[in-house]
């Protein structure tokens, strides 16, 4: 293979893609912005909404408002609840007059005072976030009232309330600092890299193969004194460049989101939002070593995807046909990511590091959580390199097959 010919072919494909605005948008802009928006925007939005609902005084419907004991009323008002009398609890909630309604039966206070028990009916819409947030307020108020009643009853019996809790459970977070900071959704990072590699590389791969066939330029290119392997490698480099660029943009976006979160937003957020940021991995602080491992893994993953894209899209007669072949490839990443979410429950063994794509997703997740080992790194990287070479050999073979090249 002659490097100058490979470079000529790669350069032409790169220039051609760079002049396509759609490709630039999907390669550079969207992967850069999407992760920060998800990391910052979602917690800010959700946290803000939760906080607003918590501090806002909400109307809660009551059937039998006169039956509400003063202590329970005080507990409810302490939770920013205003009691509104309604006739029918379910109807009031269904009509969105109130997010939640309670039913306090006659004789409620007397029964409690007599040492008996009583029921508070809570009517709410299951699955409605606002309704459920206000159910939380009501439950909190009832719990406070209940503790007061229990304390009073125990006091009358000459017992201390602590008698009900002879054993105290003390939770200690045993995860590593990296695991804590990467968040429960750390699998999102390798997933985004994989998806953006696929998205970023596909326009170039299709344009360089099925697109050339459709335009009738592939035949002219193959008539030039250039070897098929040089054509394959040139187009592979161009596809890899854009796949990798999109993946790098996704990583930069992720790091940018983390930095912004730490320096600007985190100090201003309430407890709810801070908790969600932690779950999303927004406090992840990557070291240079971690970034290096992620970059090499992303490079190998991009190489594999680029080789796969070339092999598949060369079969297609047209750009559209190639897109329809490539669209299902997303599942190749989505299924491993589903596995990755439940890896703790499934208990993935070492064999997973021998399966291309799944291995690099698991390994990158390990890196993000600070749990990667040298052995797993070696198995993952070597397996991916071998799989990529096999795919490139397959693409090269297809470039010499008459029924593939002239399948128009």
């Amino acid at each position: 293979m002659r490097p100058s010919r490979i470079w000529q072919i790669a350069k032409k494909e790169i220039v051609s893609t760079l002049r396509d605005r759609r490709a630039l948008l999907s390669n550079l802009v969207i992967p850069l912005l999407l992760l920060p928006v998800m990391m910052l925007g979602l917690p800010l939005l959700m946290g803000g909404l939760f906080e607003r609902e918590t501090v806002t005084v909400t109307d809660v419907g009551v059937v039998g408002v006169d039956n509400v004991p003063a202590a329970l009323r005080a507990a409810l008002e302490a939770q920013n609840v205003a009691l509104v009398s309604v006739e029918d609890a379910t109807a009031a909630v269904q009509a969105d007059e109130v997010p939640v309604a309670i039913v306090v039966p006659p004789g409620f206070e007397a029964d409690i005072a007599a040492g008996g028990d009583a029921t508070v009916g809570v009517h709410a819409k299951t699955g409605n976030i606002r309704s459920e947030l206000n159910v939380g307020k009501v439950q909190q108020a009832v719990s406070v009232y209940q503790q007061a009643v229990v304390a009073e009853r125990l006091g009358r019996a000459g017992l201390d309330p602590s008698v009900l809790q002879p054993v105290t459970v003390e939770m200690v977070d045993a995860s590593s600092a990296a695991e804590r900071s990467s968040g429960q959704l750390s699998w999102l990072i390798p997933f985004f890299i994989a998806i953006w590699t696929l998205t970023g590389g596909q326009m170039t791969a299709i344009d360089a193969t099925a697109g050339e066939k459709e335009r009738g330029t592939l035949e002219v290119l193959l008539v030039a004194p250039v070897r098929r392997s040089e054509v394959v490698f040139g187009k592979f480099i161009a596809t890899l460049t854009f796949g990798l660029t999109a993946a790098l943009m996704a990583i930069v976006g992720y790091l940018l989101g983390g930095a912004l979160m730490r320096s600007v937003f985190l100090p201003r957020l309430g407890d709810d939002a801070t908790g969600m940021v932690s779950i999303m991995g927004g406090t992840f602080n990557a070291s240079l070593g971690t970034i290096g491992l992620l970059l090499i893994s992303a490079l190998l993953l991009s190489s594999f995807v680029a080789a796969m894209l070339l092999s598949i899209s060369l079969f297609a007669r047209s750009f559209k046909e190639a897109q329809s072949y490539i669209a299902p490839l997303s599942f190749l990443f989505i299924i491993p990511v589903l596995v990755l979410q439940f890896k703790d429950l499934i208990g993935l063994g070492d064999g997973v590091y021998y399966i291309p794509v799944l291995n690099v997703l698991v390994y990158m997740d390990d890196v993000v959580r600070g749990a990667a080992t040298v052995e797993h790194m070696a198995i993952t990287w070597v397996t991916l390199i071998i799989a990529t070479l096999i795919l490139l050999a397959f693409a090269n073979r297809n470039f010499t097959r008459e029924n593939v090249i002239f399948r128009t």
């Binding site: 335009r215 035949e219 002219v220 008539v223 030039a224 008459e402 002239f406």
Partner: protein, 285 residues
């Protein structure tokens, strides 16, 4: 400069790779135009389900000559040119182009040829100049050599506006100019034109014909493949009529007209085809 000896090529049904506009796949199922079957059905020694695209074809093209390959769509012209351009491999027979064997020296053959086809495919996001530099570099030319050649071709083809503009905005005529310039950027001794005037308006078609007339010298030749009889009459010193993949007649235009006993080339062609069809017609029991 070109020697073709007993060239044969078959395709499995539906998997044909011949035809300028995908005619191969149609012909693969044994297509017909009017009363004439364009592809010969397989005979003895051919795999079942396959169609013979080129059948024992032989011809020679000398330097300084414009040689016509004449035949209806699906007759095997494009398949023949693709074999000569090393894009397809013949099942049997041999061919040399500019002294190089198409089977054993494909890279040397490709360096010695240029191909202009009717598809007029160009890279929409590259300018005319960038396209010519790209192909020049693939032929091993330096940027300075490409620029010098562009100047020559600009005089010959009036490339003008096509050089700084992106190909996506080209008219059909502009596209055809750049397609021709691309094919001859490396000044090849052999150039193949395959239905090169297909879809062109009258002015663009005239430019192609003028270029073909001017191109051959003592060191160059042109193979001009078409189904348009008048173009062959105007351009070619000699021609080969291909029908069902096989040679039906060869010689100067006057010789072919005489052999077909026609008033002109088109008339002679139809008379020859009719005679051949009648000869092949099974005698009713």
């Amino acid at each position: 400069m070109i020697s073709v000896r007993n060239l044969t090529k078959s395709f499995t049904s539906g998997g044909g790779a011949g035809g300028t506009t995908g005619a191969g796949s149609r012909a693969g199922a044994g297509s017909r135009t009017g009363a004439f079957s364009l592809r010969r059905q397989p005979g003895a020694g051919t795999a079942p389900g396959s169609v013979v695209a080129v059948d024992d074809l032989s011809f020679e093209v000398a330097a300084g000559e414009v040689y016509g390959l004449l035949g209806p769509n699906g007759a095997g012209k494009t398949t023949t040119l693709r074999i000569l351009a090393t894009l397809l491999e013949a099942d049997s027979g041999s061919a040399t182009v500019a002294g190089h064997d198409v089977r054993t020296e494909p890279e040397a053959v490709r360096a010695a040829i240029g191909v202009v086809n009717g598809g007029m495919g160009l890279y929409d996001r590259l300018t005319g100049r960038e396209i010519l530099h790209y192909f020049g570099a693939l032929y091993g030319m330096t940027p300075a050599a490409v620029e010098a050649r562009i100047e020559v071709l600009d005089q010959l083809l009036q490339l003008g506006d096509t050089l700084p503009r992106r190909a996506g905005g080209f008219s059909t005529g502009m596209k055809q100019k750049v397609v021709i310039a691309r094919a001859v950027i490396h000044d090849p001794p052999v150039i193949f034109f395959d239905e090169a005037t297909s879809g062109l308006d009258i002015v663009a078609r005239r430019n192609v014909i003028d270029f073909v007339q001017a191109y051959p010298t003592e060191q160059r030749c042109v193979v001009y493949s078409t189904h348009v009889m008048s173009e062959v009459e105007e351009l070619c010193q000699r021609a080969c009529i291909i029908y069902q993949g096989a040679k039906m007649a060869e010689g100067t235009i006057a010789e072919i007209v005489a052999a077909g006993e026609g008033r002109n080339l088109e008339d002679a062609f139809f008379r020859m085809v009719s005679r051949k069809s009648m000869a092949a017609e099974p005698v009713p029991a």
